[in-house]
């Protein structure tokens, strides 16, 4: 029997629940989509709390969602709040109240998690993989901000968050009160301010041929031109539609495209943003896969539960994203690469000892990749500067908490003596602390192996023997420095795992 799954997206201006059927030939199939417009963002962006009226309305709708879930007898559900909820001060209390009143347990996604899920939803559509073989800008338009992710040759190149969102633009427009005919110019200017900066920083080395767009309202455009269920459209066709649209008031757009007037008002900022990106990049093809956060949540769930075969390696994207940040700070070099190798080899060799899984391995991998980013700012206090950079960098697919965890691991990989107090924080549960300590222990051992001379390392392996972890290095150098420093880096490992790492250097001729 197929599983039924509900994904709830509590957005800034809309509540949406989609019910999916997972498994079988269809993989992920949408069964129902219930939406209700509610402007929560307006409350939280200004006052950092949800008003009572909005809360009542929210709970009423969520109760309706609950009823619909009962109707379908869904097996699982996930409910997430996004940007509007990120702005709330007393998140825990609000989530608790919602659960008590509606029976729905929800949590809040960080921006990068949200974008990753949305991206995942799109990436699992059949058209995606084909597009990203050449330069592609993946534009995820949200209420408060938009995320542009660049792909080339099938890989993620970089991702950046722009302060351009439909709701944000609409709010600004409301203040300015322009006439409809000026909309295009004003929105265009707002958009270009942000985009120029983006172009300067990221578009130098990549030629963007395609634009993939994620947006709640743009699909109406596809509908309007008809017969495009797949969501493909050329930039030229898009331009023609824009020409017809921008001279119209929202109610006229609504009538022309057969969409609700509210949607029409939301559509224009998105449409102009995309138009400007086309101008800036010279992209020729557009792809609107028509997925939303709810689809991403479902795809992610189905992927994790193995209801579908993944078409794309998402772990790779997370690492590319980390590597791109590292190279931005000039620290994606051979040392980093050796450090990463060493850390992962030790991790894999000691699986029985630490009992950690794939996700923890990814965190370690990112920590190793990003360990030295702080040196770009300061050679003397890299622990602190690396911590700060990692904490505030967007890494695609990594949650806010995980990012702090990585930053903490990196920070504690530097000093000779560490205090376990450093892993304690209100944000972490005790299991998080243990993970961090274990990963720090491994990373510290790895750093002992990858110093300046690391370039000469030919081969590296690790093996667990009784109470010893034997790390064998084949090199043409003497590795004096490593040998000397190695023991300084192993104390944490010994304390945590009760096993002593031993370095075995095999010299070969150059």
């Amino acid at each position: 029997m197929k599983k039924l799954f509900a994904a709830i997206d509590v957005g800034s201006y809309e509540l949406c629940m989609k019910v999916f059927e997972l498994g079988g030939k269809t993989g992920v199939k949408e069964i129902d989509c219930i939406r209700h417009r509610i402007d929560i963002g307006n409350d939280t962006f200004h006052n950092h709390m949800i008003s009572r009226e909005k809360m009542d309305e929210l709970c009423e709708i969520m109760k309706g969602f609950h009823r619909a879930m009962d109707t379908y007898r869904v097996n699982d559900y996930l409910a997430y709040g996004t940007s509007a909820f990120r702005e709330i001060e007393n998140t825990g209390a609000v989530l608790d109240q919602i659960e008590r009143r509606t029976g729905i347990r929800m949590s809040v996604l960080s921006n990068s998690e949200q974008r990753f899920l949305e991206y995942k939803g799109a990436a699992l559509k059949s058209g995606f993989e084909r597009y990203i073989q050449t330069g592609t800008a993946f534009v995820d338009i949200g209420g408060g901000s938009s995320q542009i992710t660049l792909f080339d040759m099938g890989h993620l190149v970089t991702t950046v968050n722009l302060h351009l969102g439909t709701l944000r633009i609409r709010t600004k427009l409301r203040d300015l009160e322009p006439v409809y005919s000026d909309y295009e110019v004003i929105i265009g200017e707002m958009v270009m301010n942000e985009l120029d900066y983006f172009k300067e920083l990221y578009l130098k080395d990549i030629e963007v041929d395609n634009i993939i767009i994620i947006d709640d309202y743009m699909s109406a455009i596809m509908e309007a031109i008809g017969g495009r269920p797949e969501g493909h459209i050329t930039a030229r066709e898009y331009k023609d539609i824009m020409k017809a649209l921008t001279v119209k008031a929202p109610y006229q757009i609504a009538a022309k495209l057969h969409i609700p007037e509210d949607n029409a008002a939301m559509l224009l900022p998105s449409a102009i943003l995309v138009d400007k990106i086309i101008n800036m990049t010279g992209a020729k093809d557009l792809y609107l896969p028509g997925v939303s956060l709810s689809d991403g949540i479902a795809y992610d769930f189905a992927d994790r539960k193995k209801y579908i075969k993944p078409l794309h390696d998402f772990g790779d994207d997370i690492l590319s994203s980390a590597a791109n940040i590292a190279s931005k700070y000039g620290s994606f070099d051979l040392i980093t690469s050796k450090l990463t190798d060493a850390a992962l080899i030790i991790f894999d060799a000691t699986k029985k000892l630490h009992g950690m899984g794939a996700r923890e391995r990814t965190l370690l991998n990112i920590a190793a990749i990003m360990r030295n980013v702080g040196k770009y700012v300061s050679m003397s206090v890299p622990a602190e500067t690396s911590y700060a950079i990692i904490k505030d960098s967007e890494i695609m697919g990594v949650s806010h908490k995980e990012r702090i965890m990585i930053a903490t691991i990196v920070q504690n990989s530097y000093p000779n003596n560490i205090s376990y107090e450093a892993f304690k924080s209100l944000e972490f549960e005790s299991k998080d602390e243990i993970i961090m300590i274990k990963l720090t222990a491994i990373l510290r051992v790895a750093t002992g192996l990858a110093k300046n001379t690391a370039k000469s390392i030919r081969d590296l392996s690790a093996q667990l023997k009784d109470k010893e972890l034997i790390i064998k290095v084949t090199t043409k150098d003497k590795m004096l420095l490593e040998k000397g420093l190695f023991s300084e880096r192993t104390d944490t490992f010994e304390e945590v795992f009760g096993v002593t790492p031993t370095l075995l250097v095999m010299r070969v001729n150059a």
């Binding site: 417009r37 379908y72 699909s219 057969h258």
Partner: protein, 723 residues
């Protein structure tokens, strides 16, 4: 005959010119006149004619309560905006007063001069006045009065200390002038109890003649006994019609339900808009009534016969006269269904078209009943507009909820005249555990749609019923309607979206198959008409056939005029109101309008577009009226299965070929009955009855055949099938 479009004249003619339109109220009166014609049609069985006359009367009552009342409201409010045909409310009221007065005299001449003598010929004596009773009969009615009537009467006298009594809407009353002991003349009245039978059969005459008399005559005869201390000078029946078309200000009403309940109570006290009294009524009595009820001469109707002819419907039911009635037709088992197979399996196998009442409505009821009992059913969602008194659908829905299904029912409280009934059902369903919703503010939910969600072996499957008629098993025996059952995914998705929308959630980004009013339905119709116009302009054959109950939307009519001018052939089958004029040069030369009045009330809405040979056909819950297209939730759905498309086309073709019950609108805007002449007689409704009987008959025959197939042959058959 197709005529070529003449674009030159089109440039100079304003297609919205009021001259090109017929006033909708006058057009409606023409419809009632067509029914009156049926009552006068000597080729019909006598009792059927009685029924038609009864229908004209109840129709007219409704027309007064809603349309005339609304016009009066407008006039009183000083509203002067002319209608589609350029008439202000005042002009319309004046015109209608004349037409309705003529109409009423037509009704009564039909009754007295045509039908009563015929009844007498057939052995049924209708005693018009109690004075005509024989001595035995007098004794009989007096005893009847004493025993059955007197105990429930509430006579009321009016004097300076007692106010004029409330005369209830539509009730029949007897007004009297009485002389007091002090020699004063006072007004007195008594309501003819609506709880007692209006027709009382008298003992059979010696020659076997049966006689009937009306209740009010019996009361009139005994009125002296009601006002014992007075001397009755005269007594005459009268009847008052009041304004019923209230509008609910939803912004003001916190709770829609309680507001409607309040309005229902108020309705009794609406303003009088029509006073009917016996012709020959005492002038003093009339003066009092006119004065107290504030009725003007225009709204006064002198009736030469019994008031309120709807009693003829009861007379129709009098046992023993079957020979004077049309043979009763039993709705047949539907063509696309099998009796003993699960309805879900059948729908999974093929889409099903239902053509009521030729085909039975029972499968639709069974659809809900089966879903209610079925283990795999998760949810049932349905819109209810008007349900029958003892609705099996309501019972099935309640049962489903009790069986743990999620049942969502949209009950449209604002369905005219049915509010009380609907409130009762709504409350009952809620009690049973159904999730009852009341639709969208300011919009009546007129669409007829049911969704059953099942969790099956290979995933979730949605079964949808869409219809042109209400989920009402009793009207389904009298109204012609189309029903459609499918489990095709695009319909299922849309149906889900419809109920989400009706529950107050946002409209979906995309509709697959359905077009909804008030969102895009009108645009969709205009687009379809316009597309046909373009085809004609490009020199292609272009043809539209539409069957609706009413056509009075100016945008649609203008689009049709434009299409006609471009050379589109347009054949309209319009049962009731039609504001469009045919045969106007440079406007509507290519348009025909016909109307069919038959045993069944024509109710299906079907729309066919030639579309360059890629024909499209749709059914809808909506008419081409502004209220349907703009102020109601309505659904238009396409039928795409070629077999079903052929069936629907066949329905339209037979209706167009009808030459016994159809009337054609002439260039003067009047309707003339089509006669077969030398051609073969075609009666659409008769044809459909026969066809359904033939299908059902051959199914029966097949079934019987099967019983006698020898066993050997069966195995042989099976083997053949295997290969």
């Amino acid at each position: 005959m197709k005529k070529n479009g003449n674009n030159k004249t089109n440039d100079t003619i304003d297609l919205r010119d009021p001259k090109l339109y017929i006033n909708r109220e006058l057009s409606w009166m023409q419809f009632d006149e067509r029914i009156l014609e049926e009552a006068r049609d000597t080729s019909l069985p006598l009792f059927e004619r009685l029924k038609f006359l009864a229908i004209t009367a109840s129709n007219l009552d409704e027309f007064f309560m809603i349309r005339i009342a609304s016009l009066k409201d407008m006039k009183n409010a000083g509203y002067k905006k002319p209608d589609i045909a350029g008439m202000t409310p005042k002009m319309q009221l004046n015109a209608l007063s004349e037409v309705t007065h003529d109409f009423v005299s037509g009704q009564y001449s039909t009754f007295s001069r045509m039908l009563l003598p015929k009844l007498m010929d057939e052995g049924l004596r209708f005693v018009k006045h109690h004075e005509d009773l024989s001595e035995e009969e007098k004794a009989f009615v007096d005893a009847y009065f004493k025993e059955n009537v007197y105990p429930v009467l509430t006579p009321m006298a009016v004097d300076s200390s007692r106010p004029f009594p409330l005369v209830r809407n539509k009730t029949l009353n007897i007004g009297a002038l009485v002389r007091t002991e002090e020699n004063d003349i006072e007004f007195a009245m008594v309501q003819v109890p609506s709880g007692l039978p209006r027709i009382i059969e008298l003992p059979k005459g010696t020659d076997g003649t049966r006689s009937v008399i009306l209740l009010e005559e019996i009361i009139e005869r005994n009125i002296g006994g009601l006002f014992l201390s007075y001397n009755v000078i005269c007594a005459h029946p009268f009847r008052v019609m009041r304004n019923a078309d209230f509008t609910i200000d939803e912004d003001e009403a916190d709770d829609l339900l309680s507001e409607i309940e309040k309005q229902l109570k108020k309705r009794q006290r609406g303003v009088a808009i029509r006073l009917e009294c016996e012709s020959g009524i005492d002038k003093r009595l009339l003066a009092i009534l006119e004065d107290e009820l504030k009725v003007k001469d225009n709204d006064l109707y002198f009736i030469n016969g019994p008031l309120d002819l709807t009693f003829l419907m009861k007379l129709y039911g009098l046992p023993g006269f079957d020979r004077l009635k049309e043979k009763k037709y039993e709705p047949q088992f539907p063509k696309y269904m099998e009796p003993d197979v699960s309805i879900f399996d059948q729908i999974k196998d093929h889409d099903i078209l239902l053509w009521h009442p030729y085909e039975s409505f029972t499968p639709v009821v069974r659809f809900i009943q089966e879903a209610a009992r079925d283990e795999d059913t998760l949810a049932i969602k349905q819109t209810l507009y008007r349900v029958s008194g003892d609705s099996p659908i309501i019972k099935a829905l309640a049962q489903a909820a009790e069986n743990g299904k999620q049942v969502t029912v949209l009950v449209e409280l604002k369905a005219r005249f049915d509010e009380e009934n609907n409130i009762i059902w709504a409350k009952m369903l809620e009690k049973a555990g159904c999730h009852v919703i009341y639709g969208l503010k300011g919009l009546k939910t007129h669409s007829k749609i049911t969704l059953v969600v099942r969790r099956e072996e290979d995933g979730l499957r949605r079964y949808v019923h869409l219809g042109t008629g209400n989920y009402n098993d009793s009207t389904a025996k009298q109204y012609t309607d189309i029903g459609f059952l499918t489990c095709a995914e695009p319909y299922g998705e849309d149906a889900t979206a419809v109920f989400n929308m009706l529950s107050g959630y946002s409209e979906p980004a995309i509709w697959n198959k359905l077009s909804l009013a008030p969102l895009w339905l009108k645009d969709r119709f205009l687009y379809l008409i316009h597309r046909e116009t373009e085809h004609a302009k490009n020199g292609r054959d272009a043809h539209i056939i539409a069957k609706v109950n009413s056509l009075c939307d100016i945008d649609i009519i203008e689009a049709l005029y434009n299409a006609s001018n471009a050379g589109v052939r347009i054949d309209l089958i319009v049962r009731g109101i039609c504001c469009l004029r045919t045969g106007v040069p440079g406007v509507s030369e290519n348009i025909t309008v016909r109307s069919i009045v038959g045993t069944y009330l024509e109710h299906a809405r079907i729309f066919w577009f030639l579309n360059e040979g890629k024909e499209e056909i749709y059914c809808a819950s909506a008419d081409w009226m502004p209220r349907n297209l703009e102020r109601r939730v309505e659904i238009l759905f396409p039928i795409e299965n070629p077999k079903l498309v052929d069936d629907l086309k066949h329905i339209l073709q037979i209706q167009l070929a009808d030459n016994t019950k159809a009337r054609l609108m002439t260039d003067d805007g009047i309707y003339i009955r089509i006669t077969p002449g030398r051609n073969q007689k075609v009666g659409a409704q008769k044809t459909f009855m026969k066809e359904s009987q033939t299908v059902a008959g051959s199914r029966e025959a097949r079934k019987n055949e099967r019983v006698f197939v020898p066993e050997e042959a069966q195995t042989e058959d099976e083997e053949v099938l295997k290969i």
